[in-house]
Amino acid sequence: MSVITKPLRRETEHLYLPIPCKIVSVRDLTPMEKLFRIQMPDGQELGHKPGQFIQLSILGYGEAPISVASSPTRRGYFELGVRNAGTLTGALHHLSEGDEVGIRGPFGTFFDVEKLAGKDLLLISGGCGLAPMRSLIQYCQDRPEEFGKITILYGAKTPSERLFKEDLVDWARSPAFACKYAVDCVPGDGCFDEGEIGLITVLIPPLKIDVQKTIAVIVGPPVMYKFVIAELKKKGMTEEQIIVSLERYMKCGVGKCGHCAIEHLYCCLDGPVFWLNQISGLRGAI
C-alpha cells in the first residue's frame, strides 16, 4: 500500500497538500472500528480543539474527513476512531503501526470550552458519535475544574458494538462524571449490566438537571438527533442550550467542494459543531 513517505513542511501554501504522519498504534475498538494513534512529524502538535476534524489521506484511495477522538490536552499524538465503512476507511483498516497517512487540518468548528466554562454539561452520544465526543470528554477529564456537573450518556446497538469500552468503565468510575449507558438490545444469551436496555432516549427522562445552567452536546447517527432533542426540550431545554455535531460527505474540508452544504452553511467551515438554533430551520440539517 502506498503511503506518504517524504516529510513535508507543515506551513505549506498548498491548501490540498497532506502532511505525512506516522501511525504509532492501532487498537481494535469493535469488530468494525479501530482506534489509530497518530503522530505529527518533528514532534509537532496537531493543534486542534475538541470536536474538530482532519482530512485523512491514503494515496490511491483518496481522502475523507475524520473527527479527532482525543483531546488536545493529551499531548504528543492524536487519535482517530474509525469505522470500516467505505473505500478509504477500508484501506485505513489495513494499515498498522509504523505506516504513514496524510493529514490536512484540523478543520471546522469545535466545542467551545470557553463558552461551556462553568456550565453543567450533558454529553450525549450514540454509536460512532462517541469518537468526536471523546475529545471533549477527555478534555473535561483533564480540566474538570472548568465545568460544573458533567453527565455522560452513551447508547449503542449492542454491548459489543460500543466504542471505547475501557474508557466507558473508566469514566463511570471517575468522580468527575455521572455516566449512564444504554444498548438497544442484547443479542443471544449475552448480558449487559452497565446500564439500561433500550434506546438512548430512555436515559434522559430520569435525569435531574439544572435547566438554567446546563448545556447539552449531542453526537450520534442521523436518526438519533430528532428524538434526543425532543426529550431535552421536554426537560425545558432550549435550542440555545443544545450543541450538535454533524457528519457529512466531504471532499475538501475547506468550504470549496460543496458536498457538505446545509443550505447556506458548510458543515466543514461553519460546522461540524453547531448550536442547534443555527441550523434547526434548515432543510436536511437534522
Binding site: S2, H259, I262
Partner: protein
C-alpha cells in the same frame, strides 16, 4: 477610444500569444463556439455568450490536485508558466467571475484556482453582437478590457492599468470612436429589458418567504433526468469531486466537476443521504442560488446567464422554473 475590426483584434490576440495563453471565442468544426486558441478555428466574437461557461478556463472540468511520483515525491502545480488571457466574458459572466473569485479566496484560498486566475487578463464582449443581433449588456467594469460592438467595429474600453497597457498595443489606425458613440451604446445597454432578472428576483423573494410549496418541487423534480448539465454549464457552480488514480507509476489526485443533482453527491459511506430524494436535489439547485447564497454572501448567485436553460433537455432551467414560481405563487 479605439475601435477595432475583428481582423485587427485577431492580429492583436495572435501577437499576445508569446506572453499569454490566449483563449478566445472560436468556431469549431461543426459551428459550435467555444473558448479556445486561435489555431482551433476562426475567431467568433459575435453570436452572444459562449455556450460553455467561460469560468472553466480557471476552473476546468478536470484538474490535477497533486501528483506523487515514483519516488513518493509530491508535485504540486504552481502558478501557470504563461498567464492566461481570456476573451469572451459577457456582463453576466463577469458577475459570475467576480463571485467565484470571492468564493475561492474566502476563508481558505484555493491555490489550484488562483494558479490560473492570478495574473490573468479578462476581456469582456458586449454591444450589438448577441445571438441573432441582440444587444449584449455592457459590463462597464469587472474586467481588464471590454470590447463593445457598435455594429461595425469593437470599441476597446480598458478598465485597468493592465488593460490600458495592453490595448495601447492594439493596432487599429484611424479608428477613434466618434463623439457620442459610447453614450449611444450605453443608452442602448441601459434600455435593455430586465424581465428575466425581475422574474428571478421575484422568485427568490417567494422562495425566501416560504411561498413555494413542497409539491411544486416534486413536480419539477419528476422532469429532472439528472443529466447534470445545469451544474456543468453554470459559471457559478463550483462543486467538485476528488479522487485518486494511478497513472504510469505515478499517483494523481484529481478533481472533476461534480453535480448536486446526483444521488451520490451527499451520500455518506453509511448510506445515509441528506439529499437522497430527487425533490431535495431539485430544490437545492434553485434554492442554493436564490436563497441560501443570499444568506451567506448577501446576494443571489444566479447571474441570469441562461446557460442552464439552454442545456436542460426538459426545460426546467433556472429561468423556466422561476417563471413557473412567479406565475403560480405570486
Amino acid at each position: 477610444m479605439k475601435r477595432a475590426t475583428t481582423e485587427q483584434l485577431r492580429t492583436f490576440f495572435a501577437s499576445l500569444q508569446t506572453e499569454f495563453d490566449v483563449y478566445v471565442p472560436v468556431k469549431l468544426h461543426d459551428g459550435t463556439r467555444v473558448l479556445g486558441s486561435l489555431s482551433e478555428g476562426p475567431l467568433a466574437l459575435e453570436g452572444g455568450k459562449i455556450p460553455q461557461k467561460p469560468t472553466s478556463v480557471f476552473f476546468p472540468q478536470f484538474d490535477k490536485v497533486f501528483v506523487v511520483d515514483e519516488q513518493s515525491k509530491f508535485q504540486m502545480a504552481g502558478p501557470v508558466a504563461k498567464p492566461i488571457m481570456v476573451v469572451g466574458f459577457t456582463a453576466q459572466d463577469l458577475d459570475c467571475l467576480e463571485f467565484i473569485d470571492k468564493f475561492f479566496s474566502e476563508n481558505y484560498r484555493d491555490d489550484i484556482y488562483f494558479n490560473k486566475r492570478d495574473g490573468s487578463v479578462v476581456v469582456g464582449v458586449s454591444g450589438r453582437c448577441g445571438k441573432d443581433g441582440e444587444f449584449m449588456k455592457i459590463a462597464g467594469g469587472k474586467c481588464d478590457i471590454e470590447l463593445i460592438y457598435d455594429g461595425e467595429r469593437f470599441v476597446v474600453q480598458a478598465y485597468t492599468d493592465k488593460g490600458r497597457q495592453l490595448s495601447e498595443r492594439l493596432v487599429a489606425p484611424d479608428s477613434e470612436a466618434p463623439a457620442g458613440l459610447m453614450d449611444a451604446l450605453s443608452r442602448e445597454s441601459d434600455a435593455l429589458p430586465t424581465d428575466d432578472e425581475d422574474t428571478i428576483d421575484k422568485a427568490s423573494d417567494l422562495i425566501r418567504a416560504g411561498k413555494v410549496p413542497e409539491d411544486f418541487w416534486d413536480d419539477i423534480a419528476s422532469r429532472c433526468i439528472a443529466c447534470t448539465s445545469c451544474n456543468l454549464a453554470c459559471p457559478t457552480c463550483t462543486c467538485f469531486e476528488v479522487y485518486d488514480r494511478k497513472q504510469n507509476g505515478k499517483m494523481v489526485r484529481q478533481r472533476i466537476w461534480d453535480s448536486c443533482q446526483l444521488d451520490g453527491f451527499m451520500r455518506e459511506a453509511s448510506g445515509h443521504n441528506p439529499s437522497g430524494r430527487q425533490m431535495q436535489r431539485t430544490h437545492r439547485r434553485i434554492h442554493h442560488k436564490l436563497a441560501a447564497d443570499v444568506e451567506r454572501w448577501g446576494h443571489k448567485t444566479c447571474m441570469v446567464c441562461g446557460r442552464c436553460d439552454d442545456v436542460c433537455p426538459t426545460e426546467i432551467g433556472m429561468k423556466s422554473v422561476c417563471k413557473m414560481i412567479v406565475e403560480r405563487f405570486s
